[in-house]
Symmetry: C2
Subunit: 367 residues, 2 copies
């Protein structure tokens, strides 16, 4: 890899609730990791957006924030939304859904990996081998219906799911490329198409397009699963899974289920990737119950930051950014496995500041 | 309860694969339990249907079988379908979906309960308290699209989800009545509405109708969950759940996930209930990998038989049938908890015949 020669600008949207707590912690960690890896510092441009900002100004995602997202090299989100703050029609304030459409962030990448220090949710010891990535299509599927649904006469309501060839091709291609890169355990990767092709024609179409893309990757394995059976197997033998690709709504459900296997959202990062833009965000919400207390676990935010650095490294051909990503991941794992700091949600006593101090401290140890 | 004075006729459809193995076992057990409870024997009328029958005759659900289902007091299914046998258009042979529509079997009742002898899938000891019922709407939702989906020009495909007021009212009312009957742990029941009301107008409509029905049951608790969050909580704290009511597709996914919490489909019964008919069936499929070997675990089939007896007891006001149901449940639990016979899927060596002999033998012990 060659190294980049211009400064990278990152749009920072901390959002609401614990998003505002874990984001500053993450920026501090990124600065430290990037410095240790010898890469030039990233430039952070912070913007307000989300439910609280909407309550104050009437705007959830102001033009300046949107513009910063558009023109930055990457977008880093905290968390957005708040139970009591809604649009006049009662719907929730979730700008991340709008950005998925606006920038065509078609691949929702949700890696789930167990490592020492994480809760052992499943009793089977093989669960220590959980290491898969769910790729959720994010621009169509059932979410195509958002804002288009109909309620007739207070008697019946309809929402339509859309599956397009182009949308399925790009997300499936993405999944196969990911499987090729992962080279998980040295074996050729397997991409599993998760659908309900036995009942719905749109899902049979999804599988058909998946097959066409799979044919272009003969060096990789392909597999199929009905979404209900896959939900069962995620509980029964998640260590057998590698890369999954699925429809938007199915992916929404399965990614939360998957996070449950490693103890919840506390260590579940996510990336929303498009052809030109990438948005990175912890999978958790704003956690109104603990917001403002400084006790949130910043782990998922840290790992989302690492995903961003990895993506930037590939995009700009700069190994130092990949090194910084690796440092963050290793430092998070080191902190948890040595129990230097144990987050409250895993029964420990470390608050957000203490977790952050430990992980930054661990950067030196894992170099 | 008064006792019934006419013989009850049950339509028996063993179907395919292991359905043909677990069904005879179940009928033997029902006979024994009904006898011990002092109720008059049920009359079983067995019909062939399913994929194998389709391969032989070109009909998946012959008119005589359908008529028997229509005119019987209850319907007992084994399992249907076979990977290689499909309709000419490539779709699977799943007559149970047709019957749900034909007889308006709107409530898919899927109880999930842990009891000693079942695998401990979750490591948290509170998982021993898993005891909830998922009520899946089964006549509309996304499954409304079955047979109606469109694929345009090999470029895009659409499937539409339908939520009606009437459909939502009846399934929600069913869930509240179930919660009232269960009196789980002596506490007033809680019905949780599982939806995606934050994104879809049909789902917001579902929640609105749920609220209207809930208002008629002030003695019970109500709760809401987004389907993604519920999937996470099913893994994180399933012991907190009581009665869940949800849309068809969501229910399909969640009920498989739920079965995973007790070790898979091996002990997951189901009932499809309508205003006039009731169909009872293990949640598992035909299991082509083990079919024909006599090794299938008949547990879910047995518990489905017990659900049928319970439903008939209420419908016909006959306590003896409820007693027979209780005997079957207790005998299954006794067999597993004492490890008199351990099914192969839980690492034991008991085949279908041995499991059946043990459970029938246990009827005496649990009386
Ligand atoms: C907030 C919500 C609308 C969103 C979604 O459903 O996509 C979230 O659950 C997610 O997974 O990103
Ligand atoms: C066989 C299949 C079509 C069916 C469904 O999706 O309803 C099954 O999964 C079930 O849960 O009964």
């Amino acid at each position: 890899m060659s190294s980049l020669n211009n400064t990278l600008k990152i749009a920072i949207l901390p959002g609401d609730g614990i998003g505002r707590e874990v984001m500053p912690a993450c920026l501090e960690l990124i600065d430290a990791a990037v410095g240790q890896a010898g890469a030039p510092p990233l430039v952070f441009e912070t913007h307000q957006a989300g439910a609280q900002y909407y309550a104050e100004t009437g705007e959830a995602l102001p033009a300046a924030a949107l513009e910063a997202c558009r023109t930055s090299d990457a977008i880093l989100f905290g968390a957005m939304g708040w139970p009591d703050i809604r649009f006049p029609d009662g719907t929730e304030i979730i700008p991340q859904l709008d950005l998925r459409m606006e920038f065509g962030l078609f691949a929702g990448v949700r890696p789930i990996r167990w490592f020492p220090g994480l809760p052992k949710v499943l009793s089977d010891p093989r669960a220590e081998g959980i290491d898969f990535v769910l790729v959720r299509e994010q621009t169509e599927g059932l979410f195509y219906a958002r804002g288009r649904g109909e309620v007739l006469n207070d008697q019946e309501a309809y929402d339509t799911m859309q599956i397009t060839r182009a949308g399925t091709e790009r997300v499936t291609e993405f999944a196969f490329q990911l499987a090729a890169q992962r080279k998980r355990r040295g074996k050729p990767g397997t991409v599993t198409c998760v659908d309900k092709a036995n009942v719905f024609s749109s899902m049979a179409f999804f599988r058909k397009v998946f097959d066409e893309i799979a044919a272009k990757h003969p060096e990789l394995q392909k597999d199929y699963a009905y979404v209900d059976a896959l939900a069962l197997n995620m509980v029964k033998k998640p260590w057998t899974l590698d890369v999954l690709v699925t429809e938007n709504m199915f992916g929404d459900i399965l990614s939360d289920l998957a996070a449950g296997l490693i103890g919840g959202m506390g260590m579940a990062p996510s990336a929303d990737i498009g052809d030109t833009h990438g948005l990175f965000q912890p999978a958790h919400g704003t956690a109104p119950d603990i917001a403002g207390k400084g006790v949130a676990n910043p782990g998922a935010m840290f790992l989302s930051g690492a995903m961003m650095l990895d993506w930037l490294a590939v995009k700009h051909g700069d190994q130092r950014l990949a090194d910084a990503a690796g440092l963050i991941e290793a430092a998070v794992e080191h902190t948890l496995s040595t129990k230097t700091a144990v987050p409250m949600e895993y029964g420990g006593s470390a608050n957000c500041a203490e977790m952050t101090r430990s992980v930054i401290g661990a950067l030196g140890a894992v170099r």
